[in-house]
Amino acid sequence: MNLDFSFITGDLLVNYIWGGLKYSVLLTLVAMAGGIVLGTLLAMMRLSGIRALEWPASLYVNTIRSIPLVMVILWFFLLVPFIIGRPIGAENSAYFTFIIFEAAYFAEIMRAGIQSVPKGQTYAGYAIGLTYGQTMQFIVLPQAFRNMLPVLLTQTIILFQDTSLVYAIGAYDLLKGFEVVGKNFNRPVETYLVATVVYFVICFSLSMLVRRLQKKITIIR
């Protein structure tokens, strides 16, 4: 097989790939931020000791974690226009889907994070007069985040890879950009090879960063 990469030029990257990359990165960041906020709330619900809060949170987390992501993406894309009465577009649909989906995973990470903070810290917060909310905000969650930072970032790397699944609803992301190039230039093998390398380089460098961070955190402790 003769591989020919000569069709890949700067112009091509700007025209086809750059927009897709921006969307993939943005989707990752939005899903991470939304997922962490929602996930933290879910984790606090599951640890609240109040059954009326624990039960729905557990149901949510366990249900989402039992469904393949690509199906959630599809169902959300098909159902939401029905519910709100108008189409919202593949890209916007994916934002909601990923926040909802990732929240379930971040919830489990944050639950472990909160549990990693010794109970005495909560007592100390209460003892100086902080409320439950203040104790969480100023004492427990900052420590939980710090303890869980490497895991949170690793999950974000997985999340970045998972964003490629939006091909199922035709959203224009990084992978889609390469796919279009492959079709337009009739060079699918070369473009998918390049796409693989691009995903690898991004994810591998992020992993390296996480590893360095992990070492740093260990030193601080």
Binding site: P118, G129, Q143
Partner: protein
Amino acid sequence: MIQIQNVSKWYGSFQVLTDCTTAIQKGEVVVVCGPSGSGKSTLIKTVNALEPIDNGDILVDGTSVVHPKTDLPKLRSKVGMVFQHFELFPHLTVTENLTLAQIKVLQRNQEEAKNRGLKILERVGLSAHKDKFPSQLSGGQQQRVAIARALSMDPIVMLFDEPTSALDPEMVGEVLDVMVQLANEGMTMICVTHEMGFAKRVSDRVIFMDQGRIVEDCQKDVFFGDSDSRTPRAQDFLRKILQH
């Protein structure tokens, strides 16, 4: 200032506190001692409702800790507590440890809180460490910061829960010195401790607990001096602890 009235508490079917009643006056220094598992730590934690009680009542400055309408955070902000394992906030500097609750609970501004905190830090002799993190301090220094953290809230009473038990022996003295100084300044204190030297030197009263009950509650001189009139359980405890 503090009334503990017929307090009982169960962990499941196990009764940790049985009908405990005592009162602490303003300015009084009370040492609570007893064998491990006797409920002394549990009792002291009921005073600021870190441990809920099943029966009886506790009044702090006239406010009941069990009444559902009681603003517990407000009540706790007036009661300083020092823990066996310090429980400083590891992600905050010494100064931040001292100012957090002043700002969030007492609504003091940053400047006020910092001034108050640093003044108290000076009293416990740790001004030089104000920008360090707790992990950079020795155990004794951490416990002194923990005492300073409690004091920066201007509490009306201080609770000490085995403040020297987790310390290396050579660091016990520096923490006890701060406690002695506090007692001499007239602070109301309840101390769960095995430090009988401290009890003899500065306490007014000694409470001896065994199996969840207050077995002895008497003036220091009576407790240590008139040993023949003590219960056999207290005599036995004292013999064991004073041997060394």
